[in-house]
Structure formats: C-alpha cells, structure tokens
Point group: C2
Chain length 500, copies 2
C-alpha cells in the first residue's frame, strides 16, 4: 500500500513526516496512524509538527504499515533482534522477526554485530511491516580491525547505505562528549551502552570529539532525504541501580536536548533513548526531566530494570520499571528478554520479552487512562465471569499460552464451557457461587450487623470510591457473559430488593 504513497515524494529535498506536517500536509501515513490510534488526523499532524510524536517511515520501506510513537498515542514496545559474533544465522533472525510480528512488537531493532550484516538487514526490512531500527556504529566497527581506524566519513557512508536500504530509525550516540567521560569513572559498571563505549574508545584513542556530534548536521542532511528518524542514544545510561540518575547520565541528556533542537531545524524526527537500570522511586523524576530537557521529544526507554539481582528474569525486573515509565510518560518501551546479561536471546526469549512488554505498555495505557484502554480488560473479565473460556483465550495477549495452561489440568473440550477450573474446582468457584447467588428463594432477614457501623461504612465507601468508568459506567455494557444482559441485571436487583 505504501509504495504508491511515497512515489510522488521521490526527488524532494526533504521527505520527512515532520517536514510535511509543518507545511500543513496530512500525509497518508498520518491518516493511517490516526485510524490506528483513534485520533483526529489533524491532531496527529500537529503532534508530528511539534516533535511530540514521530512516525518512523523511511521512503524506501514500502512494506511498512505506519505507526506512531508519542505521548498522544498508545504506549509502544520495541523488540531487539539480530545476531552476535558468537551466534549468527539469517534464518534464525527471520524466525525471531516473525515472532515479533505475531506477538505484537510495534518496532524491531536489528542489532546484528556479526556475519553478513547488510544482508541480514535487507531480509528483515523486506519482511517487516513495522519500523526497523539499527545502530550504524555496529556495522562500522565490523568493517575495521580497531575502532580508531574509523573516520567520520566511514560512519556517514554507512548511515547513508542503511538509509538507502530503508531503515526507519537509527540510534546515534552523539551526546557522549569527551568531557563527560570522567563522570563515568566512579560508577560501578562504567559505560554499558555498546555504541557509547565504542565512541568513548574512539575519542580516547584519537584525541578528537565525538564524530557523531561534530558531524550532526551532515547526518541530518542524510536523514531528511530518506526520512530516517533519530533515536538519540544514551551512551551514558546507568548499567545498575547504583549508577542511576547520576551526573554522567544527565550531562548527556542535556546535550541530547540541544541536538533535538538542531534536528528539528532540519525538520528531522527525533526520539530520545533512556535508561536502563533505575530504582522505582526515581522513574517518574527521570520521565519529567527528559520531557523538560528534550522539549517533549518522545522518550524511548530500555526497561528500566527495577533491581539488578535477578539475571534470567530481567524481562520481569524491567517490565516493572517499564510499566512505571510508560505511565509517567515514556512513549516506547524497549523490551528486555530473560537472556539479558547472560546470552543472545533465542526465539523463545524474544517471545517472553514481547509478552512482558505488551503487559507493561498496556498497564501504562490503563494507568494514563488513555481513551478505551481498559475495553479489552473489561471484555476479558466479562468472558471470565460468563465462564466463556474460549473467549477468554481469544482476548488474551497470548491465546496459545492461556489455553495451554488450562489444558494442563482440564484438556477435554467439555471443560471449555465448565463453570469452574482446576484452580478451585466446582464447589469453591467464587464466580460460580456468586453467579447463582440470586437464583433461589431467600428467607427473611433475621439478623444484621450494628446499624451505626453499617451506616458509617457505607458513607465512607461513597466518599472513598473512585467513580465508575468504562463499560461498568454504561447501563448496558459489553455484551459478553450471562450477567451483563439487562434482564439478568433486573432480575438480580429484584432478588436483592426482596431480600432487603
């Protein structure tokens, strides 16, 4: 579909979504995004023009179904795939990409650092309906023996080659300046960004400033010819709780804010990368500082991990931090898999990481009270109350996993409509008990609790309760489940009135 959209733009000096948005043009990409997000197209345009939303969409990635990253849109997740020098296999990466698309990654980064990197990237791009991001430094380093052999020209050439292939966004570690390196010396884990560590090595070896910084305008020229979005890398992100929110991190963030302004002068789209490892009580502060210093450019955070003590389970340690980050304003959450810190993720690690992050992003949408965010929760809960197991599975983030767990104890088809599961059994199923509570003739009430306590408790409850929203606030809510029908509700009310 997108091949036609981009045809008329070829040859223009600036083809970025931001450029069109600032000229008042609503592109087909913006229309598409508006439909997916349930937002007015004009709002999408103005957010893109303002820099508060990006639509990563390279002119040369016609396979893309455009999506948006920004505070007005739903919270997104990115999945990193790509090989390493230790484990390299094109077919394996394609399998991971298919898993990403199936389980709902909103963007994918190809972080390959070994093998035939351009070939792997091309295969991934041609199969990816979601934006593909890269870290060009990785390919650059693969071409030389020692990092210091690289010139700024080499870096720009690689960026241009990747842009031509159709890469939608690139992590550029332009904010780590020579003068910031001493700030990382007293950290426990130093520099943990791969690209950041390599740029530090380059600067130290050559006595020169960061080439991504000194050639930033050249980068912008390439980016605007293809509409590549910046993902400004956080080279000095903390690698452990102890290093979080320190001077190194915030000095670089301040530079990223300046670079955001410079990219915006070229109408080039920008998002900002963020930590990493952060204790829960520092996450909201980190989101607020980024919004302030980086002029509300979308924040794209890695986790953050809320504790360092659970290698093997870092999809969980980081889903906690990611959910909090999304709630407090991060626009995209970069997943972390169970393999983090230990190994290159395999297809199952990718799967587990994506589901954990779909959970985090959705919990964030609900907590931010984004419009309609809770609808799917309500629908699934109604299916649950109606013992409609198949509908529960269908509405699940991972239907196969949900059904498999149910099948473990009750595999037979008959149990998919049973009014209980193996957790409680038929006699102890609270939902079954509650469902049938009002079907009987009820005796007169002969005993009540202390009237004053009841009155006080009800009065307190009225004051403290949060107003009902979503489908519970509607007279005839989502039509799933026996109890949701008006007749059923009326019957229940009648029964209770009788009991009073």
């Amino acid at each position: 579909m997108r091949a036609q959209w981009v045809e008329s733009r070829r040859g223009l000096a600036n083809v970025t979504q931001m450029h069109f948005a600032r000229q008042g043009v609503v592109t087909q990409e913006m229309q598409h995004v508006a439909g997916r997000e349930g937002l007015p197209a004009e709002l999408v345009r103005s957010e893109v023009a303002r820099g508060r939303m990006i639509i990563p969409a390279n002119l040369n990635h016609p396979e893309l179904e455009p999506m948006a990253i920004g505070i007005a849109a739903k919270c997104k997740i990115n999945a990193n795939i790509g090989n390493s020098q230790i484990v390299s296999d094109v077919e394996g990466e394609l399998t991971k990409l298919r898993g990403c698309l199936k389980h709902g990654a909103d963007t994918v980064m190809d972080l390959s650092t070994g093998g035939d990197i351009p070939h792997i990237r091309d295969v991934l791009l041609r199969h990816s309906t979601v934006p593909l991001g890269t870290v060009p430094t990785y390919e650059a380093i693969e071409r030389v023996k020692r990092v210091e052999e690289l010139t700024a020209r080499d870096l720009l050439d690689i960026v241009e080659e990747q842009a031509k292939q159709g890469v939608d966004y690139m992590t550029i570690h332009a904010g780590i300046l020579r003068d910031f390196l001493p700030l990382a010396q007293h950290r426990i884990t130093g520099i943990v960004s791969r690209g950041g560590a390599l740029m530090a090595q380059w600067m130290m070896a050559k006595g020169l400033e960061n080439p991504w910084y000194t050639h930033f305008d050249d980068l912008c020229e390439i980016f605007k010819a293809y509409d590549v979005s910046f993902s400004l890398g956080d080279s000095l992100r903390p690698g452990c709780l102890a290093d979080a929110s320190d001077e190194a991190q915030f000095a670089e963030l301040r530079v990223l804010g300046e670079l955001t302004r410079r990219a915006w002068e070229h109408d080039v789209q920008v998002m900002i990368e963020g930590p990493g490892h952060v204790p829960m009580d520092q996450i909201e502060m980190n989101m607020k500082i980024e919004q302030e210093v980086c002029h509300e450019a979308p924040f794209y955070v890695l986790g953050p991990l809320a504790t360092d003590i659970a290698p093997g389970y870092d999809h969980i340690t980081s889903a906690i931090g990611a959910a909090l980050a999304g709630w407090h304003g991060a626009s995209m959450l970069c997943y972390v898999t169970p393999a983090e810190h230990l190994s290159l993720p395999n297809a199952e690690d990718v799967h587990q990481g994506i589901i954990a992050y779909k959970i985090a992003a959705h919990a964030a949408d609900v907590a931010r009270q984004r419009s309609g965010a809770r609808d799917r929760d309500d629908a699934l809960s109604r299916a649950r109350y109606a013992f409609d197991w198949r509908e529960q599975f269908r509405l699940s983030l991972d239907p196969e996993a949900a059904q498999a767990k149910h099948d473990e104890t009750l595999p037979h088809d008959a149990f998919k409509t049973a009014e209980f599961c193996a957790m409680c059994g038929p006699k102890f199923c609270s939902m079954k008990v509650h469902t049938h509570l009002l079907e009987k003739d009820l005796p007169e009430v002969t005993e009540r609790a202390d009237a004053q306590l009841v009155a006080d408790s009800l009065a307190f409850a009225r004051r403290a309760a949060i107003p009902r929203t979503g489908s519970v606030a509607q007279p005839s809510p989502v039509a799933l489940g026996r109890k949701a029908s008006p007749a059923g509700a009326a019957g229940a009310a009648a029964a209770l009135a009788k009991a009073e």
Copy 2:
C-alpha cells in the same frame, strides 16, 4: 529451637506476641526477628505492641523460624499452595512446600479444598520453617453438602482444631456484611473471593449476619490461647480492573478497621488483606486508605494485577502491581502464579510465582530505601563488571536459572571467566571496552565540543543528579571486581588527568 521458647508460656490465658510486647517483654521471637531484619529488638517490640508489625507464631508450631510482617521490616512474600477437588496429592504439596522454602517464600498458605485436608496441613506444618496460614472456611465447607448447613459453632470448632495443630495465621472473612452485598451486583466479576462468596451464600440462605462477624470475640478467645494472627479477608476485593476501588471494597475495608481495633483489645495480632486487580494509578491511594482506615495494621495484598488481559502471565501482570504496592506501604505480597485464573499451580508455577514476587518485594525495598536494601544489587553489579560469572550466579535470586541461561550458548567452563557473553560477543562488550579504556597511551586532545554547551550540561547534571548512596558513595566500596580496588581507581583517575 523454638520448642524451648514456648514451654514456659503453656497454660497462660494469652500467649500472643502482642500481649507480651504490650507488657514490655521482648520475646525470643522478637529477638530473632530483630536479628534477621537488622533492627533494634526494642523497636520490634514497640512495633508489635502498636500493631504495626506482626510475628505470626503459633505456640504449637515449634518448627517455625520466626519472621515479621510490617512496615518497619523488609517487604515479605507469601506463596499459596494446597490442592483442589480436581487435583489432590500430599506428596505433590510437600514438593511445592520444599520449593517455597528453597526459593524464599516468607510465609506459605495451605489453601487445600479437597482430599484429607487436616492430614495435608499437618504434613505441611511439620515441614515448614515459615509461618503457615489457612482459610478455615474451606475445610468447613468440605465437611458439609451445602454451605447453609454450617453453624457458627462448626466454624469455631474448625478454627480451634487448626489452631491446635499450629496454624500461624488464618484468613477470616468477617468484614463482608449482608448490607454490602447489593454493592457487588453491578460489578463485572461480582465476588471473587472464594471465602467471601461462600459467606455471602450462607447469609443469603439463612437470613443471618456473617457468622465470623457475629462471633468475632469468640474467635479472639481462641486466637489468643495459641497466638494465631488474623489475616482479615477482603471478601469484596475487585476481580478485575473495572471493579477496583469501588464502594463494595471500601465499605468492607472500613469494617476491617473496626475489627482490627476489637482484635487489638484482646492483644491479638492482625494484618489486613487487600486487592487483587487495580490499575497502577490507584495503587498508592489504596495503600494510603488502608493505613488510615485500619490504623496502620500491616497490609497483605494479592498482587494486584495491573491488567486483566494476560492470563498465563499473571505472575508478571501482578508483580508490577505488587512492586508498586510494596513501595507504597504494603508489608506482604501474596504471589500470583502463571496458572492464576486457569489451573491449579504445579511446582514449576509455584517456582515462577515466587521468583516474580521476590523481584517485586526487593524492588519495593530498594524504592523505599530500606537500610542496606541495595547492597546485593551493588555486589552483583560489581561481579558483572568484573566478569565474575560464578559470583553473578551466586548472588542471583535464582542461581540455577541464571547459569542455565548462560550455559545455553557458552556452556564450557572457560567462559565463566570470559570478558564477554554471547549477547554481544568479545568485540562489542561495553564493559570490556570500558574496562580497558584507560590502559593505553592516549594522544593529546585536539578537538572539543562547544565550551558553553559542555559547561551548561555539566552544571545541569550537577543540579539534577541524585546524591550517590550505598557502596558507590564509599571511597573503597564492596570488594568485588577488579575495578573496585583503590589502586585501579587511582590509575583510572591518573589516566584521565593525563588526557585532560
């Protein structure tokens, strides 16, 4: 060890820890807790006397190693085990208990609802070094055909039998009153507490008030003779996001606050059970309301799940909510396993649930800045920076899982000291690059970024950075890892000075 401690207390009318605490006595249990928590024994005594901390420790559970639940102590986790009418097997439950103890559950609840319940419970008690909790209603219901056949006397008899066996705390659904039932009628999932639904059924069938409420003082008499702690059940907790923080929930909570006062008049220990399913933005409010209404009695929350759409992954949906709850004041987190809503958890589900909750509780301790909470994170991070893989595994919450994931790609022993892992490979390991950054002769600096930008960024970073705490704030921190030695640090500083 505990058998001797309790000998002298036998025959006393009131043997509760709260009773002794209020008389100014520091029991051996309090001493033991003080040692485990790193708190002064007198503080433990005064918190127990005040009701803000409980030490669930039945006189007839000599196998117990006492622990504490309360805001002054570290955040705890509970694991539910027990069979159902569908799946029943004593050996299987014992295997689950061993898993609980191995992976670090702080308390265990036996929620058996089928088979020979008293026998299963006795086996579990005799093997459990952690407090064991029960829901006596379950056993009561198993003895009759219909819930309405039960009398208040039956309930009290079962409580006394279980107290005699050594149960340390019991969930008692005394707060759900007849007049609150209509409040649950417009919910999506009605009543989801098993015990709560059964009491609602009893009240509706008989026209009588909740027997746990009407016989609360009789319960206190039994509890104080054995030192059973109340876990006041939240029968009206929400079963989905839409039902959270509603009038039904808060009316019951208000009654639990009154019952807390009444139990305290008997010097009986109390904690309060809480939800359940709660959007992230309502969790802090829920913690504050409980503290206010229930006079700061420890809050023991189930999750809460931050979204309803991921059955099969509810250990993750709920670990997010649990971490937030613990941060904002919950004293114990009741785990949820991947089997929640789908099946009775098996041993592996129990394992996964416990690790997810160890993560949540620890993240909460760190976020509350409990003394020394981050030490283990820092030690593991130092081991990580030093490429001491074995030490990383040892310090992990689940060493076997961490090592297994590392073994997947690099099983050979030689790689357990390698300066990289399969995730990035040797050339791209940021920690390796950073570690070796300063070992070389460095050229003169010939290029720098804009001086004003550097100065502004450093000034901003100084203002924004959080003061360093824990081992990073010490001149010679935790002695793990090559870079932590004073010599190494001095060398790095010298190298940087040279580069300036």
